[in-house]
Amino acid sequence: MTDTVRNTVYFAAIAVLIIGTGFVQSWNAALFILNFGLISAIMALGVNLQWGFAGLFNVGIMGFVALGGLATVLVSMPPTPQAFSAGGMGIILALILGAGTVVAAVLAYSKLPKGRVRGLAIMAILIVGFFVYRAVFDPAVAAIEAIDPAATGYLGGLGLPVVVAWPVGGLLAAGVAWLIGKTALGLRSDYLAIATLGISEIIIAVMKNEDWMARGVKNVVGLPRPAPYEIELQQDPAFIERAASFGLDPVMASTLWVKLIYAGLFTVVLVILFILAQRALHSPWGRMMRAIRDNEHAAKAMGKNVTARHLQIFVLGSAVCGIAGAMMTTLDGQLTPGTYQPLRFTFLIWVMVIVGGSGNNLGAVLGGFLIWWLWVMVEPMGLWLMNTITMGMEDGSAIKTHLIDSAAHMRLLTMGLVLLLVLRFSPRGLIPEK
């Protein structure tokens, strides 16, 4: 069996799974899986860049995805003019002061001679800078959050079309990735893992607590959409007529149509990123990356700047995750910082890449769809399993209720098990690297 045949079989199987879900459950569920599968595939592509191409271990995918989500709010929501006049300048000034403090500290570190004076100077700059920053920042935040807290209480966005947020999300994620990569790359591999784990938790903490930015845990709902609203379609006579010609009622047809529009947009992004990743993999640059991954010392001896290349690909991969994060928030139509969990947004993507085949872009895409389908289906399957196991027990017994209640936690166990089994028995994944 050639590779092409095998890959076709794999993707046909995915199609069967999704279409099968359409027949067995509902077409809405099938399109839901398809849309999130497309987004997952993009995230998996990003992680595959980092892990598959370069062997970098990033455990902070959740943070980069969340930054993409933040970009959606900052770009697409209408601005809040009163908030801007109340505290906008204060916030901007405070952020500039904060950045200035850090720059001054870095300058002091590089310019002053080594010794106690330098240490004291840096301490003084940081302490004074911090208090000045807080003195400007706190009143501005209070002023912004006081403005109609039930509806806004934040600066709002730029009011641009939501699709613009996708590349912006990528840029935002890239910026943070640069900062992290600059510190943790070039040290042992575990340090990058720990640093990314930390930054992702901090990004989520900032998004939950800084209400002036994106309302924190009060959530931003009703984000603008790139697709028409279902309710508008249902009132459009032309649409109703077309729906009727397919034999569908307007409500059903409108929800399916909107999901299909999203699927189309996401497919375009996925195809573009896939072609780019594929070109990169087969370019001299891609070969250099794999050479560095396989033997850092040899690559270094050949004159390759290993740390700089690592930084480059780390930033690129994180940017892809940021784009996917922005797309996902667009699909949800709301930003809810409380729902970002490492399990769902970091670990699951890792399982996708490893199951699909690390180092192979097609494998990452396949893993994205397959594992997402499994993730959605594990819960009903777990519940069914528990119901089957407990069939013989009498109703209301403590063990039976406990087992049925625990079915929700089957996901953790299943995903951990899938990862360990694949790593052990098929470490190269379903579609191995060539």
Partner: protein, 336 residues
């Protein structure tokens, strides 16, 4: 100006909580550092090993409570602790046998082991939630305070009160005993010396006839004991919630790295550095400042450097500073 009251307020809100928290972090970081020294990878499953050990202890505690066994003024959990340790030992030995040993024999790269430990972490987390559920569990009983605010005020006549919770006292005493035992074991016994030799130079240790599988097994046993004790003490002091232990992973790792991965003394120092920084930076200093400063200077605001929601950020920033300026940590741990 009232230094005595300021000192009491400081002790009550900063020193005592930070000491207890530091002891818990130090025990956790010791486990991470031992695994790193002997098995040579960062064990992401450590947080959930702590959760599993604590869970076993809680289950045994409930059993004892239902039998009416208690430990007088001390929490029953202390009686249950040995059983929790045994349960945790069984689990880690089982994981080592079915999961880690395969990669050890293959001499897999450390980063593969880290990914494997991530898988183990999720299975353990799933197990804990499966068995005890995701909710908050309280299992502390016995006397709540060694000295309560009211007793302290009556005793000293000061305006400011001081409370020491039993759990805080137990945490510190247990940690001291455990650390003393561990260091005696590592420095004085034959097995401990062979562990250190294996950690320093694997090939040389093998040449001298040290059995690597035995060293690894003993390491896992010690790590299981440390993790269970750390998890139970944390659960007694705060409360037991399965997902908390995932969040505890960051300060624990930060402590181990700040001290120097692979260095037991460093892990203890790192634990206290992280704990004291977290508490002092997120504590609202208004009360202490009011006592120390003259009335005219008394602050209006809370004098809190960062809100408590950002306590991860503190350990993270310390971690970054150490990585930037001294990647081997305070006590020069293993390789960079």
């Amino acid at each position: 100006m009232d230094f005595l009251n300021a000192l009491v307020a400081f002790a009550n809100f900063v020193f005592i909580p930070a000491t207890a928290y530091g002891a818990q972090l130090a025990l956790g970081a010791l486990g991470v550092t031992l695994i790193y020294g002997i098995l040579r990878f960062s064990n992401f499953a450590h947080g959930d090993t702590m959760a599993f050990g604590a869970m076993t202890t809680i289950l045994v505690t409930w059993l004892f409570q239902s039998w009416g066994i208690s430990f007088g003024p001390l929490p029953t959990a202390l009686l249950a602790l040995p059983f929790g340790i045994l349960g945790c030992m069984a689990l880690v030995l089982f994981t080592d046998r079915v999961v880690y040993r395969f990669y050890r024999e293959q001499k897999a790269k450390p980063v593969i082991l880290v990914i494997v430990s991530l898988g183990v972490m999720f299975i353990m987390n799933g197990l804990v939630r499966f068995i005890i559920g995701p909710d908050d569990r309280r299992f502390a009983d016995g006397e709540r305070f060694i000295i309560s605010v009211r007793e302290f005020k009556a005793l000293t006549g000061l305006k400011e009160g001081l409370a020491i919770k039993t759990t805080q006292g137990i945490t510190v005493i247990t940690a001291v005993i455990v650390v003393a035992l561990l260091f005696y074991f590592l420095n004085r016994t034959r097995t401990g010396k062979s562990m250190r030799a294996y950690s320093d130079n694997e090939d040389l240790a093998l040449l001298s006839g040290i059995n690597p599988e035995r060293v690894v097994m003993i390491t896992w046993l010690i790590v299981a004991a440390l993790a269970t004790i750390a998890g139970t003490l944390y659960g007694l002091d705060k409360s037991f919630k399965p997902f908390i232990f995932l969040q505890l992973l960051l300060p624990v790792f930060a402590a181990a790295i700040v001290g120097g991965l692979g260095s037991p003394v460093g892990a203890i120092a790192g634990g206290f550095v992280i704990a004291f920084s977290e508490v002092t930076i997120t504590y609202a200093w208004k009360k202490v400042a009011t006592y120390v400063l003259p009335d005219a200077w008394a602050p209006d605001s809370l004098v809190q450097l960062l809100s408590t929601d950002y306590k991860f950020a503190v350990s993270f920033v310390i971690l970054l500073i150490v990585l930037l300026f001294r990647p081997t940590g305070l006590f020069a741990g293993k390789s960079v």
